[in-house]
Symmetry: C2
Subunit: 166 residues, 2 copies
Amino acid sequence: MVSQLGTMNVTVAPVDKFREFLLTKKMRLTPEREAVVTAIYSSHDHFDADQWIDSLAGRKGSMLASRSTVYRTLHLLQEAGLIRKVARANDREVYEHDYGYPQHDHLICKKCGDMIEFPNEMISSVLETVAKEHGFRMSGHRLEVEGICANCSRPPQRTHRKLDMI
Amino acid sequence: MVSQLGTMNVTVAPVDKFREFLLTKKMRLTPEREAVVTAIYSSHDHFDADQWIDSLAGRKGSMLASRSTVYRTLHLLQEAGLIRKVARANDREVYEHDYGYPQHDHLICKKCGDMIEFPNEMISSVLETVAKEHGFRMSGHRLEVEGICANCSRPPQRTHRKLDMI
DNA sequence: CTACGTGCAAAGCTTTTGCATGGAA
DNA sequence: TTCCATGCAAAAGCTTTGCACGTAG
């Protein structure tokens, strides 16, 4: 059957893929692990551990997963190929979905911190060539392009407020 | 006059460039800062903070620069464009010279940790195109290609010892 | 005399780990 | 019963920072 997740070009939902992965390691898809996966796949934004710790372990009464479990699950999800580290911001690892979405890298604005995705077929093919030349078995890459985004490099021109006519 | 540093294609020695940079910030090239620069530029290997802390702050009697100073100087050297972060290994930032050497990126073996440099003109030009398309003012990039190096991917074939014939 | 620098030690932060408890098979 | 998992709290480990003292100009 086909996935009901419109934008994704996969047939197996992330949670299911994760379950499969866990099976191969004799591990279980616990409610906690499921909560983490669900949370992470509820949106396609970049994220770091803390975000989910806040929302999953934050509320005292109804904890969905503890800090430790979030971290532990993040590792598992990486192994499973469901997420990957894309950058490092504020001393935290930044992750993103790595399943069901086209390959891309990021332009990172060092002023506003915005991360702009761009497709990386060109780069991948260059890297494959390079790797082959070196007898290097490439398994992945991480490319952070640093600079100032269009918005932030606009001249002083005060940040558009309601009324912009003097 | 021309640099006496054979392999480098610069006319101003690193230390001097650093001094110039410091001047623009009303800072001084202290003996400690000089020691750090000298140490770092004594070889072209990749390095992390700890390496220099060990060798500069290690000996009790004759400390050349303290832990704090090494870290502080590393930041300055980055600002000055003399070094750059290239990767992250063992939870430490890995730096390399970023002055007087041709642009390149790295293939990083996740087995032995070896870092293989390769020229990146192709990649840079792709990135410049991409950046332009997004009105992004690129100032640099960091590319880590992960995989297994030729050496490590060779079949079991025991690591060549002295006698390799049975 | 004033501003810049340094070393020391303590603090900061994210991420990891040890341990006792709890639950699925 | 036997593992696999979790939460809590403490530990780890790199890097940063506050502070008091020195010292170049």
